[in-house]
Symmetry: C2
Subunit: 425 residues, 2 copies
């Protein structure tokens, strides 16, 4: 079967997937966890093939670490599955129940989005997380993982798929796409796929968005800011800047730009320069910063730069209003934090900064589904429609309106024989 | 100022609009209502200019009716504004409040989408409804109405805008686009506009979707179905079919296709043929239907046809499963209804039909923001992301995550010095 035909089969089965009971979905998740544990040697052997190929290709050490699937990673995904099972059913939640008139009752009820395609990086644990999130939320899943973990993905997918179907989920509950060339076929399946979630580089996500009619959820880039207010605690500020920049610089929620209130700069900058030197973080400062500390000088073009590295743009601002405008203009609406002991300044920042996550006195690195208590995430959204920020189960459902009548027709209301009489239930 | 410059000004003011208090927004709405009433003669005079031009252009009578803005329409929009004022603030609603660890508190709070562009048909009352919905929800609005009501729109917009600003809303709270040629400039404003809502023909909405990077919310077409089950009450079925087809055939929630369970066809069809003849509704039936009643014969190509007229496609199905598959395959996921006295069949239909609105024993014509008790609607969405079905205030807001800490950094959690301790607040 072609990718298109397989995707059409998922679409056809998606109402059956949507109507599977929470007992069946949880039972499938539980059986998947058992199957992973029982077959761990097979999985590890497949992973060894990928690791050998990667070693031969001289893949860098940090990437090798992500490709590896071992006992620790297995324990991690199993804990994730247990967390998912413990979460309440995201489906059939009623967010509105209203009697429109006698005998005419409207309910708004959550339901799955349908068929979701996720294109993700070479991390075998991601395949398990994404497929189990989709099962819990009643969505059919199309999984395309990074080709560096081809063998591991294939083994994991076959185990998960077989177990899901054996436990009562429809045969069209999920499919795998293996070859990179097949992505373009996926992009043409707008009649079968309801949502695409591409994870990866900015250029890759942009490519996907520009080449499909399917709605795309994701984030283009992560230009996150730390703003140190004039009323900041300097020691706290340093902790937060260092963590936001260095705890894991290669990811989207790492900070790229530091904004300092001009009245805080003289106190903060020398301490920061020392901390950054110890951690080998390079400062790229605007002219006012360059006057105070030794650093490379940059202009406003740096405000749009996502380094994903041990480099940070640093500039000063006249006041909090300028900081907020800077973030709204140059940021990517992902995650931004203020450091201040002034609660009015904090409230104003969190209200006026137009980002998915707005923080006070903590690191931008907290923007993550696990840390938010969502169990796991399929990605982070910087779009403003549907789901925003880390996307967990809540972001994988939509809703439908169900109206139950008894022969009710609109003519009666349009012609004045009856009147609506709204009553919340 | 160019359209792009004006839109950029709205974007810049959108955080101020978002942070306006509900008291200010409600006060502005109340003052707008007063301004409309006080200046009604000016508005009616402007409308008279549009009506004269339309009469000279020999615009058809039903369209003339929509262009007209008189005392009755004025009373209608004023009642709508009163309803909006009475509704609770859609902003700052907390949908999640969770302590992640001691002193680290996460809240998910509703906020406006930002800048919303609405392109709507020539109906002056629509301008008032859309602008007031945007004010209530804290969104900046770009309004482009149909050119047949140019003078009325201009007068209404100027009154509404002046009153809004006088009552404390930012000068960038709304703008008007008058010329049709300016739509293409709007489409290029993806850095300033967060959402476009085009209302109008299928071809027009498709054109907008295919020519902008701005997210578009709306519906492409409305192929709505009535399914008459084997356990249907025939009299009820006739009432519902007649209302769904004829109460207002030119709109998207009017039914286009009738599916009849084969066991119900012999009883239903002769009565239906008689009812439809009395109302001058033409039946286009498949071969099985043609065998039972006199009608034009059609094939499956008719299943994708939106007539918006006194014409209905009629076919029979083997069972409810075939009806559900038919609707999911040929429908537009707008609104579909089942007529049955069997509650298991109703539940199954409402669960498995993948549409924004799924009904039992009532007319498809109920799919409307006013009838759902939303006060008003900016449009109807057949997309599955964000808002679905009639879109009222709830569909005009998104949310942001606010995280308050006290120097919290991720390194403490990543390196095991601290553990998350999720607690719902």
């Amino acid at each position: 079967m072609s990718i298109q035909e397989q995707a059409a089969k998922l679409k056809l089965d998606s109402p059956r997937m949507a109507s599977s009971t929470i007992e069946v979905r949880n039972q499938a998740l539980s059986a998947i966890k058992e199957a992973l544990l029982t077959n761990k040697d097979t999985i590890f052997a497949a992973n060894q093939e990928d690791m050998t190929a990667a070693a031969l290709a001289q893949v860098p050490a940090p990437v090798m670490k992500r490709l590896k699937f071992d006992d620790a990673k297995l324990a991690g995904v199993c804990e994730g599955i247990d967390n998912l099972i413990a979460l309440p059913d995201p489906l059939h939640r009623i967010s509105l129940a209203r009697e429109l008139d006698e005998g005419l009752v409207l309910r708004r009820e959550t339901c799955p989005i349908g068929v979701i395609g996720v294109i993700f990086e070479a991390r075998p644990d991601a395949l398990v997380q994404i497929s189990t999130l989709c099962i819990k939320s009643g969505n059919c899943a199309i999984l395309k993982g990074g080709s560096e973990t081809l063998h591991t993905n294939k083994t994991l997918f076959e185990l998960i798929y077989k177990t899901a179907v054996e436990n009562g989920l429809p045969t069209g509950c999920m499919m795998q796409v293996e070859a990179r060339e097949e992505i373009s076929q996926l992009l043409s399946c707008h009649e079968s796929i309801d949502l695409l979630i591409p994870r990866g580089s900015n250029a890759f996500v942009q490519y996907i968005m520009n080449n499909t009619k399917i709605p795309v959820m994701g984030h283009a880039d992560g230009i996150c800011h730390v703003y140190v207010d004039k009323d900041a605690d300097i020691e706290k500020a340093i902790r937060i800047i260092v963590d936001s920049k260095t705890q894991y610089p290669a990811v989207c929620n790492a900070a790229e730009t530091l904004l300092i209130h001009k009245d805080a700069a003289a106190k903060l900058l020398p301490v920061l320069a020392e901390s950054f030197q110890a951690l080998s973080v390079k400062i790229r400062g605007t002219s006012e910063v360059k006057e105070m500390i030794d650093c490379e000088q940059v202009g406003p073009e740096a405000f749009k730069t996502e380094y994903l590295d041990y480099i940070m743009t640093v500039t000063t601002v006249e006041d909090i209003a300028q900081a907020i405008n800077h973030i709204n203009q140059y940021g990517s609406h992902h995650t931004d934090t203020i450091v201040t002991e002034n609660s009015a300044a904090a409230d104003s920042f969190m209200e006026l900064v137009d980002s998915a996550s707005v923080y006070c006195n903590c690191s931008t690195r907290f923007a993550d589904g696990f840390r938010y208590g969502f169990g796991a995430e399929v990605g982070v959204s910087t779009g403003k429609l549907h789901a925003r920020g880390p996307v967990g189960l809540d972001g994988l459902v939509t809703y439908k309106y169900k109206l139950q009548g008894n022969g009710h027709v609109v003519a009666d209301y349009a012609e004045g024989r009856k009147k609506f009489n709204f009553k919340e239930l």
